[in-house]
C-alpha cells in the first residue's frame, strides 16, 4: 500500500517570492523597537530580578529537598515512583511559565520527556521544511512569539496526569501540534507580506475560524486554512495575554468593550494589520453569534483584494424541514465560489472518502463517551477536550494520519478500563462534573486545576457534545444537506443557537446522561447568547438540586476577570456549600497573573 502523502507535497514545494526589500524595511523597524526597548530597560532592576529569581530557585530547591527528606521511607518511595503531590509549588509570582516540569514518578516522567522530545523533533522537522518565512513571521506578528511557548501549554494541560490518561493526552496533543506547525509554515509561505508564494496562494482558500473545515474535503488539491485560528484563537489558549493588544486596538477604534473578545481580537488584529494577507478567497460565516457574524466586514476592509464568500446558515436549525435546503444551496454556492476563485474542481470521491473517515472518528468518539460515562472514566482533561474540538471542527476526517492515532488512543482507553485504571490518581476522583457554556479552561487550565485541587472530574464539556449522526456518503444531494446539518451544529452554535432548548433543556439531559450533578457554569461576561439564559439555568438547576458553580470569565481578556478570581469562585463554593477539603491545598491560592 502506497504511503499516504498528507499534506499534499506540492504545498511544501510551492515557490516563495520573498520581497527582500520589504523584509529589510520590516527588520529595520523591528530592530528600532528592540533598540528602544533596550534603551528603556532599567538594567539595574533587571539584574535584581535575575538575582531574585536565582535566590527563589535556591530557596525552592532547598524547600523541596527538606520536604522530601522529612518523608518516611515509604513516602520517599511513593514520591519517586508516583510523583509529586503539591503542584502549587510549580508556580511563582511574576513568572511567565511554571518554574520547572512536573515530577510524575520514574516511569511517567521518562515517558513524558520522551513525548516532549518527540514534539520538539516534529516541530523542528516541520519548520525546517521552509524555515525562513516561518521564522520571519516572528518579525511581523507578535502572536507568533507565543508559539515558542507551546511546550509550556502541553505541560500545563497534562499537569497531574499519570498512566494511560497521560499517554492518551500526549498522543492527541501531538496531532493538534502537528496541524498547527504545518499550517503555520503554510501561512508564512503564503502571506503576501512574508513568503509571498503566488503558487501557494492560488491553491489556498481561507475560512473564518468559526466555520468548520469539512468543505475543504472535496478539494484535495487545495489548501484550506482557518484564517484567524492560528493568529488569534489557538494561540490565545497557549498565552492568554497575547490578544490584549488587539482588543485594545479595536476598542480604541470605537468598538464597545461589551463584545465577545473572540471577534474583538480578530477585528483588532485587522485594524492594526496583524493577520496574514493570504489566499484566493475568504469564506466568512454567520457563526456562531452576532458578534462573529459582523467581523467579516472588518476583514473585507483590510483585504479588499481577497474576494469574500459569506456562508450563512439558518439560526433556527431545529426547524430542519424548512431551513436545511437553503443551507444546502448555500454550500453549493460556496463550492462554486471556491472553484471560481481557484480553478479547482470539487471531487465527490475525495469528499466521501474523508467523510467516511469522519464517520469512523465519530464512532471512536462515542466509544470514549461510553467509557467516560461509566463509573471509571478514562480519558478526560484539557488535552482531550481540545482534541475533540479540533477534530470535529477543523480536521473533520480530512487528515488520514489522524485515524490511526485515534484508534491507538481508543485501544489504550479500553485496556485502561479493563485494567481498572482511573483517569486521575485515585485521590483526585471525588466529584463528577460537566462544563457548560463558553469554556475558559484552556486559558486558565481550569478543568485540570479542578481535578488537581478539588477532585472535581470534568467528564465532558458542552462544546464536545455536537453532531454525532453519520454523514451521508453516497447520495450527493442528501450529502449536502447533511453537511449543512453538521455546520449548523458547529462547536458553540450547536447549543447557543436555535432556541433555548438546545442549551437549557440539553444541559439537564447531559447532567443525567453523564451522572454528573456538578456543573461548572462558565459565564463569559460578553456572550449574549448565554447571558440571556442565565436566569433560567440558575432557576431550573436549583429546582433540580444540582451544584451549579458559576465562574465568570472573559475568555482571552483576563483583565476583566482574572484566573485567580475564577478559581476563587470554586474555592468559595467548595468550602462554604460542599464543606470540602482540597485534595492539594497548595493549589488553592497561588499567583499566576502573568503566567501563560
Amino acid at each position: 500500500m502506497a504511503k499516504i502523502q498528507y499534506p499534499n507535497p506540492k504545498f511544501w514545494k510551492a515557490k516563495d517570492n520573498i520581497d527582500w526589500k520589504k523584509q529589510g524595511a520590516n527588520l529595520k523597524e523591528v530592530m528600532g523597537i528592540f533598540g528602544e526597548m533596550l534603551k528603556e530597560t532599567d538594567w539595574q532592576a533587571f539584574g535584581k530580578g535575575v538575582v531574585d529569581t536565582l535566590k527563589a530557585d535556591g530557596e525552592r530547591i532547598k524547600g523541596e529537598y527538606r520536604d522530601f527528606m522529612a518523608l518516611d521511607n515509604a513516602g520517599k518511595l511513593d514520591r519517586i515512583l508516583n510523583g509529586e503531590r503539591s503542584l502549587g509549588r510549580l508556580y511563582r509570582k511574576g513568572a511567565m511559565a511554571t518554574v520547572r516540569r512536573e515530577w510524575r514518578g520514574v516511569k511517567d516522567t521518562a515517558y513524558d520527556f520522551w513525548e516532549w522530545a518527540r514534539m520538539w523533533g516534529m516541530l523542528l522537522m516541520t519548520f525546517s521544511k521552509d524555515l525562513i518565512p516561518a521564522m520571519n513571521s516572528a518579525l511581523w506578528y507578535r502572536w507568533m512569539i507565543s508559539y515558542f511557548c507551546c511546550h509550556g501549554f502541553m505541560d500545563k494541560n497534562i499537569m497531574g496526569l499519570r498512566g494511560s490518561n497521560l499517554r492518551m493526552s500526549h498522543e492527541v496533543t501531538y496531532q493538534i501540534f502537528r496541524y498547527v506547525a504545518e499550517n503555520l509554515v503554510f501561512l508564512s509561505k503564503a502571506d503576501r507580506k512574508n513568503g509571498n508564494s503566488t503558487e501557494l496562494n492560488k491553491m489556498l482558500f481561507t475560512f473564518d475560524e468559526m466555520t468548520m473545515g469539512q468543505i475543504a474535503a472535496g478539494f484535495p488539491d487545495l489548501l484550506a486554512i482557518p484564517h484567524q485560528l492560528l493568529p488569534m484563537f489557538l494561540v490565545s489558549e497557549i498565552d492568554q495575554l497575547v490578544c490584549i493588544p488587539y482588543i485594545d486596538a479595536v476598542e480604541s477604534y470605537g468598538l464597545p468593550s461589551d463584545t465577545c473578545p473572540v471577534p474583538s481580537s480578530e477585528c483588532g488584529a485587522l485594524v492594526i494589520d496583524a493577520l496574514p494577507d493570504m489566499g484566493s478567497l475568504f469564506i466568512s460565516s454567520s457563526m456562531p453569534c452576532d458578534g462573529s457574524t459582523m467581523a467579516s466586514s472588518y476583514f473585507a476592509r483590510r483585504f479588499p483584494d481577497i474576494p469574500v464568500f459569506h456562508l450563512c446558515f439558518p439560526v433556527r436549525y431545529l426547524d430542519d424541514e424548512n431551513t436545511v435546503q437553503m443551507a444546502a444551496e448555500d454550500i453549493k454556492a460556496c463550492i462554486k465560489a471556491i472553484e471560481d476563485a481557484t480553478g479547482a474542481k470539487w471531487s465527490w470521491d475525495a469528499y466521501f472518502t474523508a467523510m467516511k473517515r469522519f464517520n469512523h472518528e465519530t464512532d471512536l468518539e462515542l466509544q470514549k463517551w461510553e467509557i467516560n460515562k461509566s463509573a471509571r472514566p478514562q480519558f478526560i482533561g484539557p488535552s482531550y477536550e481540545l482534541f475533540r474540538k479540533w477534530n470535529y471542527e477543523m480536521d473533520g476526517g480530512i487528515d488520514p494520519r489522524v485515524i490511526p492515532s485515534m484508534e491507538k488512543v481508543n485501544k489504550m482507553l479500553l485496556k485502561a478500563y479493563e485494567n481498572g485504571e482511573t483517569a486521575w490518581p485515585e485521590r483526585k476522583m471525588k466529584y463528577r462534573g460537566i462544563v457548560w457554556s463558553c469554556p475558559a479552561h484552556y486559558y486558565a487550565n481550569f478543568s485540570n486545576w479542578l481535578a488537581n485541587c478539588w477532585g472535581i472530574n470534568i467528564l465532558v464539556e458542552m462544546e464536545s457534545l455536537n453532531f454525532t449522526k453519520h454523514l451521508e456518503t453516497e447520495d450527493k444531494e442528501e450529502a449536502l444537506r447533511d453537511l449543512a446539518r453538521l455546520y449548523e451544529r458547529m462547536v458553540m452554535r450547536r447549543h447557543t443557537n436555535g432556541g433555548y432548548q438546545n442549551v437549557v433543556d440539553e444541559c439537564w439531559r447531559q447532567v443525567e446522561a453523564w451522572n454528573a450533578p456538578l456543573v461548572i457554569m462558565y459565564q463569559n461576561v460578553a456572550c449574549k447568547n448565554m447571558a440571556t439564559v442565565q436566569g433560567l439555568l440558575d432557576e431550573q438547576g436549583r429546582q433540580r438540586g444540582y451544584d451549579l458553580i458559576w465562574v465568570e470569565h472573559d475568555l482571552m481578556d483576563p483583565r476583566t476577570v482574572s484566573r485567580r478570581t475564577m478559581r476563587d469562585k470554586v474555592n468559595e463554593y467548595m468550602r462554604t456549600v460542599k464543606h470540602a477539603e482540597p485534595v492539594d491545598p497548595s493549589l488553592v491560592e497561588f499567583e499566576d497573573e502573568v503566567c501563560m
Binding site: 464597545p256 463584545t259 459582523m294 473585507a300 459569506h310 447571558a531 433560567l536
Partner: protein
C-alpha cells in the same frame, strides 16, 4: 410654529403599548399581533382581521427581574420588553411574531413562552429564521418561513384569511399609509421645514404601534395641516443632522438632540421611516408573498445582512439620505450591548468620515435617554463643531 392638532394625542398614544386605538381595534374583533423586528413584514400581520403593533416598553423604569433572567450585559430594549411582559403589560396581545435574528431579542421572546407571561388561551409565540443575504434560495427560504411561522399559524389558530387577495388588500392599506408618511417626510428636505424631527418621530411611531386602519385618518389630517402650516421666519436650529443606527422607539432622544440645536432631518434606524415606509409595488403575475419578502429584504438596512452588496448599500443609503435631506453631519448610534450595530458603528463611523467626508458623531446609548446629560453634552459639542465647519466653509464669515 403653531402646534399640530393631533400632537398631544400622538404623544398619548405612545405612552402605553396597549393604547386607545389598539383597545378599540380589539373591541371590534381585531387580532392583535405583536412584533419587534423589521425582518417580519408588517403587512403580513395586517391580513384579514389581524392588526400589528410594534412592541415598545414606554416609560420603562426598573428592569431588575428581566436582568435576573437575561443578565445586565444585554440589550436594554430586549430586557425592557421582558420586564413589561412579566408585569403583565402585554396581556392584550393575541400572538407574538418573533424572529431569530438577533440573539438577545430572540431570547427575550423565548422568555415570553417559558414564563407564560400571557394567559390568553390561544396566545402563541413563533420564531422565524432570517436569511443573512439575498439570493434566490434565501428568498425562497424566507418565503417558507413566513408561510410556516406566520400565515399558517394565523390561519390555523385564528382562522384568518391568508389568501393572496387578503395579502394584497393589506398591502394596499399599508401603501396608503406609507404614501402619507413619505409625503410628510419629503417636507423635511426644505431649508426651513414645517415639521421638526420630534414631530415626525411621533407621527412615524404611531404608524407602527397603532392599527393602520384607525391611525390613517389622523395621519391624513396631519398631512393636510402640514401643507398649510407656516414655518417660523427663522429656523431655531443651528445644524441639521441625520441619524443612522439601531432601534430607537423613544422620541425623547430626538427631542434631546433638537433641544440642543440639531434638527433631525433623517431617520435611518429601526422604527424609523427608512426603511419601513416605502410603498410595496406588487406585480399581478406573481403571488404577493414572495414579492413582499423580496421587498423587505431589499430595502432592509439591518446590519445583520453581511453580504458585500448589503454592506455597501448601508453606507450608500446613509450618504444618500444625508445629502437628500441636506444634513450637515451624521449621528451613528447603537443601543448599548447591540453586537450588530456595535461592530457596524465602530467601523462605518470611520468610513463615513474618511471616505464619504461626513462629520460623524458616534454614540452608544441606553434604551431611554431623554434625560442623559452626557449625551446632551456630546450632541452639543457636535453641533458646535458643525457650526465651526460651516464658518470655515463660508470663509470665516460668521
Amino acid at each position: 410654529m403653531k402646534d399640530l392638532k393631533h400632537l398631544i394625542y400622538f404623544e398619548r398614544l405612545l405612552e402605553n403599548a396597549d393604547n386607545e386605538l389598539v383597545e378599540k381595534a380589539k373591541a371590534e374583533g381585531g387580532i392583535c399581533l405583536g412584533y419587534t423586528c423589521f425582518h417580519i413584514p408588517e403587512v403580513l400581520l395586517n391580513v384579514g382581521n389581524c392588526f400589528s403593533t410594534r412592541l415598545r416598553a414606554p416609560n420603562t423604569g426598573s428592569i431588575d427581574i428581566a436582568t435576573y433572567y437575561m443578565s445586565n450585559y444585554t440589550c436594554e430594549y430586549a430586557r425592557a420588553l421582558l420586564e413589561r411582559a412579566i408585569e403583565g403589560g402585554y396581556q392584550f396581545l393575541d400572538a407574538l411574531i418573533g424572529v431569530d435574528a438577533c440573539s438577545m431579542m430572540n431570547r427575550s421572546m423565548e422568555h415570553f413562552e417559558i414564563l407564560k407571561v400571557n394567559s390568553n388561551p390561544k396566545f402563541f409565540v413563533t420564531h422565524c429564521d432570517m436569511p443573512f443575504k439575498i439570493t434566490d434560495y434565501t428568498v425562497a427560504g424566507y418565503v417558507r418561513q413566513m408561510e410556516a411561522h406566520v400565515l399558517s399559524q394565523l390561519h390555523d389558530v385564528f382562522g384568518v384569511d391568508v389568501s393572496d387577495e387578503a395579502i394584497r388588500a393589506a398591502v394596499a392599506e399599508h401603501n396608503e399609509m406609507c404614501r402619507v408618511i413619505s409625503e410628510i417626510r419629503e417636507m423635511r428636505k426644505a431649508d426651513n421645514p414645517v415639521i421638526t424631527g420630534y414631530e415626525f418621530h411621533l407621527i412615524n411611531l404611531v404608524s407602527y404601534v397603532c392599527p393602520t386602519k384607525l391611525i390613517l385618518p389622523y395621519l391624513k389630517e396631519t398631512l393636510e395641516e402640514l401643507k398649510k402650516r407656516k414655518p417660523d421666519r427663522k429656523s431655531p436650529f443651528r445644524a441639521r443632522v441625520a441619524i443612522v443606527g439601531s432601534e430607537i422607539d423613544d422620541p425623547n432622544l430626538t427631542k434631546l438632540i433638537e433641544d440642543v440645536g440639531a434638527l433631525v432631518v433623517s431617520d435611518r434606524y429601526c422604527f424609523g421611516s427608512t426603511p419601513g415606509r416605502e410603498v410595496i409595488e406588487l406585480k399581478d403575475d406573481e403571488p404577493a408573498l414572495p414579492q413582499i419578502c423580496r421587498h423587505y429584504m431589499e430595502v432592509s438596512e439591518c446590519a445583520r445582512y453581511i453580504s458585500d452588496e448589503k454592506v455597501l448599500q448601508r453606507r450608500e443609503t446613509a450618504d444618500r439620505l444625508a445629502k437628500e435631506f441636506n444634513a450637515e453631519g451624521i449621528i451613528y448610534e447603537q443601543m448599548k450591548y447591540c453586537d450588530y450595530w456595535g461592530f457596524e458603528r465602530a467601523l462605518v463611523s470611520h468610513i463615513m468620515h474618511d471616505e464619504y467626508g461626513w462629520p460623524v458623531l458616534s454614540i452608544d446609548r441606553l434604551y431611554n435617554n431623554g434625560n442623559s446629560g452626557q449625551l446632551r453634552t456630546r450632541v452639543q459639542a457636535f453641533v458646535e463643531s458643525l457650526e465651526i465647519k460651516r464658518i470655515h466653509k463660508e470663509g470665516g464669515k460668521a
